[in-house]
Subunit: 266 residues, 3 copies
Amino acid sequence: MDNTKYASLLEQVRSKRPLVHHITNYVTVNDCANVSICIGAAPVMAHSRDEVAEMVSMAGALVLNIGTLDQRQIESMVMAGTKANDLNIPVILDPVGAGATRLRTETAHSLLHRLHVSVLKGNAGEIAVLAGAEGRVRGVDSDGVSGDPAAIARKLADRLGIVVAMSGPTDVVTDGTRTLLVENGHPMMGKVSGTGCMAASVAGAFAAVTHDHLASTAAALAALGLAGERAAAGCGGPASYKIALLDEVYRLTPDELKKGAKIREA
Amino acid sequence: MDNTKYASLLEQVRSKRPLVHHITNYVTVNDCANVSICIGAAPVMAHSRDEVAEMVSMAGALVLNIGTLDQRQIESMVMAGTKANDLNIPVILDPVGAGATRLRTETAHSLLHRLHVSVLKGNAGEIAVLAGAEGRVRGVDSDGVSGDPAAIARKLADRLGIVVAMSGPTDVVTDGTRTLLVENGHPMMGKVSGTGCMAASVAGAFAAVTHDHLASTAAALAALGLAGERAAAGCGGPASYKIALLDEVYRLTPDELKKGAKIREA
Amino acid sequence: MDNTKYASLLEQVRSKRPLVHHITNYVTVNDCANVSICIGAAPVMAHSRDEVAEMVSMAGALVLNIGTLDQRQIESMVMAGTKANDLNIPVILDPVGAGATRLRTETAHSLLHRLHVSVLKGNAGEIAVLAGAEGRVRGVDSDGVSGDPAAIARKLADRLGIVVAMSGPTDVVTDGTRTLLVENGHPMMGKVSGTGCMAASVAGAFAAVTHDHLASTAAALAALGLAGERAAAGCGGPASYKIALLDEVYRLTPDELKKGAKIREA
């Protein structure tokens, strides 16, 4: 369990300060902006068809989050994603609520089909639904899956040829061949709106500094989860916990990530 | 003054974790999501005409908030509300800024006409305007009413056959026949953007667990107000107060609500 | 260095509680609402073409922020701005990301051309781009300018006949003839998404109470910067810093502004 690689990725995020272009929901967008700054990246949010291709061209990564989806946003996502693909800029997709409505499920499938997504990050229910397995999604929350979550994620990653990250008490990150399990995190993260979205933003920041998106995604989830562990001390509830979580992301050093990341091969 | 009923409603919110579908403004939407989680519900925000009917079908309540209104949102509200009515899912309407512009006043009237709204919750100016009484609304704030607020609310509730909640130093909750006065709360709540919106979200969570919407709304306002009282201790200003408010909503137990709710018949 | 004038402006904001109409981005809109309340103003956000003219008519100032721009928002900005001009209501423009994409640059130019903007407030890169000087903007961040920032701002202010405020370690506020330098602030403000947007909101609150927009803008930047200095004590990271910043804006007294404002003629 040598975490040097992950620590080095955090170091690179901090030194390169990659621009991370988000097309995301209006619920947690402020949290995504702030967590991006805290991890060391520069966030920008832009959704107009008149600028997304130009904006993403400057970016180190593109984060697509379908949490408050509509048709215009889908068009913008395709435009930005297509340009990102042309320029080999990694695309992170967070299929928020896939499985809850047909619009979300079909849009997630369609984006995966029309774009080369580098990292698909969702909760267990969302990933299972997209894998064609039995997943249950209630609103934007996973309501459980039938079968082995890691196997479902691995199969989907293998089929799509991309990295799939399935969040949960233990996060599963897999490219279909290798599978990493990330055991950082804290139950309070589930009591805050937007920690899943933040994970996608942090994954975008890490994806911007390396071509190894299995490692970058595991590092991102470990970094956020480790901050989440440290934030729990003395917090009075979900709101003060979120504040502490963001502060801890900011304060997390590569050395601390090296010591604290709980990443292992499955 | 037996608060057992109200305490039991909080208990049910916590155990059933109702899904509360919001079509709401982009200013305070994150606060609405987080207060929903803190009270024990599962929030989901979705506005696209391509999914609102499907999303609301899973929900325990629908919260419509016109704080940043436009034509497309109105259509979505009608679609979601119509489906909610078909399925007997309670609809909470927060007519933010009714009285300030014709669009808001007319939309609030139109939604009340086209949908069966279970609970209409607004500030004194908004409710007065909708009651056809003299109410003054400045931006999104009540600027006072002429006449007895409780009488205005009662008359409107009676005419519409719904529960009307008028927020203020003393909240008035009435179905036209019975009127409850809720005296929980703290002046600092008026210094935070979104406490009114949060009240509607919490009212949605409580409305999802009972058919008695007079009781559910009073319980919701008492719960938020009691949390607001507890949050005031040692806060340094409105921002830290909001954090403490959300934390206190999360920490509030049914037993504490039973002891602390200040609800009485008018 | 007599700050009596600036202190008096804060006093007037607190006593008049001006309504500040925002058409702004969905990333930091909640921060804009809350900082407006904390400084003593009443914020309202409204973007629909069906109400912006009516809403702005009640307002003391209009804040236009292009942080998440699209065509529909541009139309609303022009409608609201035109009405504000008709009624002599000051318009504050924050050209977020001008220089990063053509849409943002052209929209900023177009708004400056079609409307009488009272105060243009941007970072160094944005102001330089709009001045036709060499400015670099990366996403929504200034990436530096070539030449003397104060001279660039002065020239643009002179050409447009408006007040230009260029934020930075030292803020430059100029009407082309007189130039004020504001040296309040703290590096942590750069680690929080939205402090620039907040500055425009506070500038709107101050612009609402005087015709001297050179003074009002300097006072606004000094007030926010001074709060930013005070917030730094004991904060644990950017998120707790933002909470403290808002609290300190709320707690700032005219007398403290008088003593602490670092405003001097260039």
